[in-house]
C-alpha cells in the first residue's frame, strides 16, 4: 500500500506537470475570453460532492470580450480543456495517494510533514476544481495553480519523504483529527487563495497600463475586480476554519501538555498568521485602504503559514517537533 501511495504521488506530479504545460500552451496560443461560459462544466462529475462548499458567489464582471475565433483560438480552447481534465486526473491520483497512504498507516494521513503537505496541496487543488466548475472563465489561473502544485509536491517528495509510521502517544487523540484536519483544510484554501491574489496584483497592474515584465504575464488573465473578490471569498471562507483549528489545537494542548497556550514556536507562528489574516480582513473592510495593499497582506499571511509549516520544523525545536522531517 505504501509503495502504491508513493507511485501515485509520482503520477499525480506528472499529471499536474502535463496540465501545467497544457495550460501554458493555452496561454501562449490563446486570445482571451474565447472560453464559452460552461466550457469546463464537464469536470463536475469528477469533482464529486466532497469538495463543494467554497462560498464562491463571485460575480465575474463581463470582461471585454476579445473574441477572435481563429484557429489558434480553437486550439487554445482545446488546450485549456485538456488542462482542466488533466488537473482533475491529477487530483484523483493525488487523492488515491492520500487514501492508500492512510490505509498503509492505519490512520489519517496527517502524521508528519510529508503527509501534511500532501494533504494541504490536495485540498488546494480540489477546491480549485470546485472554483473552476463554478467559474469556468477563471480557468487560466490553472497555470499558476498547477505550477504551485508541482513545486510543492516535488519538494515534499524530494525533501520531506518519510516511511509510514504509526502515531506517537501524544498524537493519539480525537483532537488530533479535529485539529489537524481543520488546519489542513484551511491551509489548503489559503494556498489556493494565493493564486487569485497574485493574479490580481499582476492583473490590476496590467489594467493600470503597466507593460513591463511581471505584468505582461497578466495580459490574458480574467478581470482584476473578479480576481480580487475571489481572493476575498477564499480567505473569508478559510479564516473561521483556521480560527477553529487554532482553538481546537489549544484545547488539545491543554489535555496533552497541560497548557492551552504556551508560545511554542508553532503556536507563535499560528498566532502571527492569525493576526496577519485578521489584518487582511480589516484592511479590506476599510474603504480608504487600497485593495492592492490588502491583497499584499493576504500574501504575507500565506508567507507566515509557509514559515510555520517549513521554517518552524526546520529551524526551531518545540513540542510540535514530532512533525519532524
Amino acid at each position: 500500500m505504501s509503495a502504491l501511495s508513493d507511485q501515485l504521488v509520482t503520477y499525480a506530479i506528472l499529471a499536474y506537470l502535463v496540465a501545467m504545460i497544457s495550460h501554458a500552451v493555452e496561454y501562449a496560443l490563446g486570445n482571451a475570453r474565447a472560453v464559452p461560459a460552461k466550457a469546463a462544466a464537464p469536470a463536475r462529475e469528477l469533482v464529486g460532492a466532497g469538495v463543494g462548499g467554497v462560498g464562491g458567489t463571485v460575480d465575474e464582471p463581463a470582461a471585454p470580450a476579445v473574441t477572435r475565433p481563429g484557429r489558434s483560438g480553437a486550439r487554445a480552447e482545446l488546450a485549456g480543456r485538456v488542462a482542466g481534465w488533466l488537473t482533475a486526473l491529477a487530483v484523483a491520483l493525488h487523492l488515491g495517494a492520500l487514501v492508500t497512504r492512510g490505509i498503509a498507516a492505519e490512520r489519517m494521513p496527517w502524521g508528519n510533514m510529508y503527509e501534511f503537505v500532501l494533504t494541504v496541496t490536495w485540498i488546494g487543488s480540489a477546491a480549485w476544481l470546485a472554483v473552476l466548475v463554478k467559474r469556468p472563465q477563471l480557468r487560466r489561473l490553472g497555470l499558476f495553480l498547477t505550477l504551485v502544485m508541482v513545486l510543492l509536491l516535488a519538494f515534499a517528495e524530494l525533501k520531506l519523504y518519510v516511511q509510514v509510521t504509526p502515531l506517537m502517544p501524544a498524537l493519539q487523540s480525537y483532537w488530533f483529527i479535529i485539529h489537524v484536519s481543520t488546519i489542513v483544510f484551511a491551509s489548503g484554501i489559503f494556498l489556493l487563495g494565493v493564486v487569485p491574489a497574485t493574479a490580481y496584483l499582476l492583473r490590476s497592474g496590467w489594467e493600470q497600463g503597466r507593460r513591463s515584465f511581471p505584468y505582461t504575464l497578466a495580459k490574458r488573465l480574467p478581470g482584476a475586480a473578479g480576481l480580487e473578490r475571489l481572493t476575498f471569498t477564499l480567505h473569508a471562507f478559510a479564516f473561521p476554519i483556521f480560527t477553529f483549528a487554532v482553538i481546537a489545537g489549544a484545547i488539545w494542548a491543554e489535555a496533552a501538555w497541560g497548557r492551552a497556550w504556551g508560545w511554542d514556536p508553532k503556536e507563535t507562528w499560528a498566532f502571527i498568521s492569525w493576526v496577519v489574516y485578521a489584518g487582511y480582513l480589516h484592511a479590506r473592510a476599510t474603504p480608504s485602504m487600497k485593495r492592492s495593499v490588502a491583497t499584499w497582506i493576504s500574501i504575507l499571511g500565506f508567507a507566515t503559514m509557509l514559515m510555520n509549516l517549513f521554517g518552524v520544523n526546520f529551524f526551531f525545536t518545540g513540542l510540535h517537533s514530532y512533525a519532524g522531517v
Partner: protein, 540 residues
C-alpha cells in the same frame, strides 16, 4: 461596499468654531486616532512582528535550558537582549504595550459601534428613495400577484425581512446579524484576554518527577516541586492539599521503538473529606482533580544502586536518571553518597571520602561495547555504565548544583578523583579499590508530571465559542435593503386598471449574490416564483 468608515478625525467643516481646551482637544484627537481602523491595523501588524522574536530566540517560559545555552554561546549579546526582555517576549513591556493599546483601541471601537447598532436595531427601515431606478437593483412588475403594499410586506415577512409599510411604499431590510456578529466577535476577543489575565493572576503550576516508590510520594506543597510558578494573587498556603503516589507505570512500544501507549496509575490521597483512591492517567487524558489537573509529560527509569562502604554500612539510592533525548531512552545521571564512609566509632564524617557514581543507564544495552547508547526504550537488557568518584562532592559549599550532574569544579580542582568505571547488569556487584561495593539492584520507573490550576480556562473556552459564532455572522451575513412602491391605479400607466409595482434593491455590504436574491424576491412578489419558501441560500 462596507458599512465601515474611518471615523472622521476632524469635526465637520462649517461647524461653528468654539474655543476648545487644547489639552482636551489633544486628548480627544488622540483617542480618535487610537480607535481608528488604521491604527488598529498598524497595531495588529506590530503585534505580529513583535511575536517573531518569541519564536526565533529561546524563551524562559518555554525552555529555560536553551536560554542558558544561548547565554553561554553569545556572552556579549545575551545580557543586552535579556535587558530588553527578548527572552520573555510575551511578558515584556513592549509586547504588553502593543496588545493593551490594541485592546484599548478595540474597546474604543466597539462601544460606539454597539451604541449605533442598538439604535439601528430600534430604527425602522428608512423610507424608499424617490427614484428606485437609481438603485443597484431595479425592476418594474406589471400586474403582480401581490399587488398592494400589505401583500408585498407579507411576502417579505415570510422571508424574514424586517418590513415597514408607509402608505403605498414598502421598505425592508435584512442582515442585522452581521453587525451583531461582528460586535460579538470583538467582545469575545476581550473576554479571551480577560481569561488569560485571570489564569495568570490566580493560576499556578509546578513540575516534578515521581518515582514509583511509596517513599517518593508527593504532596502538593511548593517545596516539593522542582520548579513552580504561582500567580501574583496566589500564596504558597493556597495550594490545595493532596498527595500522589505512583503505583505503576506502563509503556508499550512498537518493534521500531516508537512508543505506542503510556499509562500511569497513582493513588490520590489526603483530599479533604475523601478516602484515598486509585486513578489512571495518560498523555492525552490528564488526571483531573477538583483543585488542579495532573499531566503526564515524560517518563524514565531510576536505577536502584546500593553502596556498601568500607565500614560495611549500606545505603541505597533510587535517583532518576534523565533521558538524553535519544529515542531509545538512554539516560544519564548521578548517584551520590555524601554520607558514605562515616567512621562508626568516631561518627566523624570524612568529607574527602564521599563517593558518587556518574554515568549512563541503558534499558537495552548492546551485546558488545561501546556501551554508550541504548538499543530499545523498554528494558530488555538493562545495564548501568558508571564512573566512580571519591573525594569532596562540594555539596556543602552552599552552591546549589544539579542533582543530575556532578560538580565539575570539584573534579577540575582535584578534590574529586575518578577511581574506575564499570558496566553492571541487575544483581551485579562491583568491588572498589577500598573494598567497598556497589550493587545495581534494579530499576523503578518514574514519570515527569506537571500540576496545574488554570482558572481562566472555562471563560476562554466559552469566549472562543462565541468568537467563532460572531465571526461567522460577521463574515457571511450581508446587509441589504429593498423597496417596493405600488403605483396608484390610473396614474397613467399603460396597463391602467391593473397595478404597477416598482422595486429597488440596495446591498449595504459587499454581496455578489444580491442580484439573484433580488430577482427571486421580485419573482415571489410577481407570483411566478410560486415557491415562496425557497429562500436564497447562505444568508442569516
Amino acid at each position: 461596499m462596507t458599512t465601515v468608515d474611518d471615523r472622521p478625525a476632524a469635526p465637520p467643516a462649517g461647524a461653528p468654531r468654539r474655543r476648545v481646551n487644547p489639552v482636551l482637544a489633544l486628548l480627544r484627537n488622540s483617542w480618535r486616532q487610537l480607535t481608528s481602523m488604521r491604527t488598529a491595523l498598524v497595531l495588529l501588524f506590530l503585534l505580529a512582528v513583535a511575536a517573531v522574536p518569541g519564536s526565533v530566540l529561546p524563551q524562559r517560559g518555554v525552555n529555560p535550558e536553551n536560554v542558558d545555552r544561548y547565554f553561554v554561546d553569545h556572552p556579549d549579546l545575551a545580557p543586552r537582549l535579556d535587558q530588553l526582555g527578548f527572552f520573555e517576549v510575551f511578558g515584556s513591556v513592549w509586547f504588553s504595550a502593543i496588545y493593551l493599546l490594541l485592546f484599548t483601541s478595540l474597546v474604543g471601537c466597539i462601544l460606539p459601534r454597539a451604541r449605533d447598532h442598538v439604535r439601528a436595531l430600534r430604527m425602522r427601515p428608512p423610507a424608499a428613495p424617490k427614484r428606485l431606478d437609481r438603485l443597484p437593483a431595479h425592476a418594474v412588475l406589471e400586474a403582480p400577484a401581490a399587488a398592494d403594499a400589505e401583500a408585498i410586506a407579507a411576502v417579505l415577512r415570510r422571508r424574514r425581512w424586517r418590513v415597514v409599510v408607509r402608505g403605498n411604499e414598502v421598505s425592508a431590510e435584512k442582515g442585522y446579524l452581521k453587525e451583531t456578529g461582528n460586535l460579538l466577535f470583538h467582545v469575545s476577543l476581550v473576554a479571551v484576554l480577560l481569561g488569560v489575565a485571570l489564569g495568570s493572576w490566580y493560576g499556578w503550576h509546578g513540575n516534578r518527577i515521581l518515582v514509583a516508590d511509596p517513599e517518593n510520594a508527593f504532596c502538593n506543597t511548593r517545596q516539593q516541586y522542582a520548579e513552580a510558578t504561582l500567580g501574583p494573587r496566589v500564596d504558597s498556603a493556597d495550594l490545595p492539599p493532596f498527595c500522589l503516589t505512583l503505583d505503576r507505570f506502563e509503556a508499550e512500544y512498537l518493534p521500531s521503538g516508537q512508543a505506542r501507549r503510556y499509562w500511569a496509575t497513582v493513588t490520590v490521597d489526603n483530599l479533604p473529606g475523601d478516602a484515598a483512591r486509585t486513578a489512571g492517567f495518560s498523555v492525552n487524558s490528564p488526571l483531573r482533580l477538583d483543585s488542579a489537573n495532573v499531566y503526564l509529560l515524560g517518563n524514565g527509569y531510576a536505577p536502584i544502586l546500593k553502596y556498601t562502604d568500607r565500614y560495611g554500612r549500606s545505603q541505597t539510592s533510587t535517583t532518576p536518571f534523565l533521558r538524553t533525548g535519544d529515542p531509545n531512552a538512554t539516560e544519564e545521571g548521578v548517584a551520590a553518597f555524601p554520607d558514605a564512609n562515616v567512621d562508626p566509632k568516631t561518627g566523624k564524617r570524612a568529607p574527602d571520602q564521599q563517593i558518587a557514581f556518574e554515568g549512563l543507564y541503558l534499558p537495552t544495552a548492546p551485546d558488545q561495547g561501546p556501551f554508550v547508547e541504548s538499543r530499545f526504550p523498554a528494558e530488555r537488557n538493562p545495564a548501568v555504565v558508571l564512573v566512580a568518584y571519591r573525594g569532596n562532592l562540594g555539596l556543602d559549599a552552599g552552591i546549589p548544583g544539579s542533582v543530575y550532574k556532578l560538580d565539575q569544579r570539584q573534579v577540575e580542582n582535584g578534590k574529586l578523583k575518578q577511581i574506575g568505571d564499570k558496566k553492571l547488569a541487575p544483581g551485579e556487584k562491583w568491588t572498589l579499590d577500598d573494598g567497598s561495593t556497589l550493587e545495581f539492584v534494579g530499576t523503578k520507573p518514574y514519570i515527569t508530571i506537571a500540576v496545574r490550576y488554570a482558572p481562566g480556562q472555562l471563560l476562554m473556552l466559552v469566549a472562543c465559542a462565541t468568537l467563532l459564532v460572531g465571526l461567522m455572522g460577521s463574515l457571511f451575513v450581508r446587509r441589504r435593503r429593498v423597496f417596493f412602491r405600488v403605483a396608484a391605479p390610473d396614474t397613467g400607466s399603460p396597463t391602467s386598471g391593473s397595478s404597477l409595482v416598482e422595486a429597488g434593491g440596495l446591498p449595504r455590504t459587499e454581496h455578489p449574490g444580491f442580484a439573484d436574491e433580488f430577482a427571486q424576491l421580485v419573482a415571489a412578489v410577481s407570483g411566478d416564483g410560486r415557491d415562496d419558501r425557497r429562500a436564497p441560500e447562505g444568508d442569516e
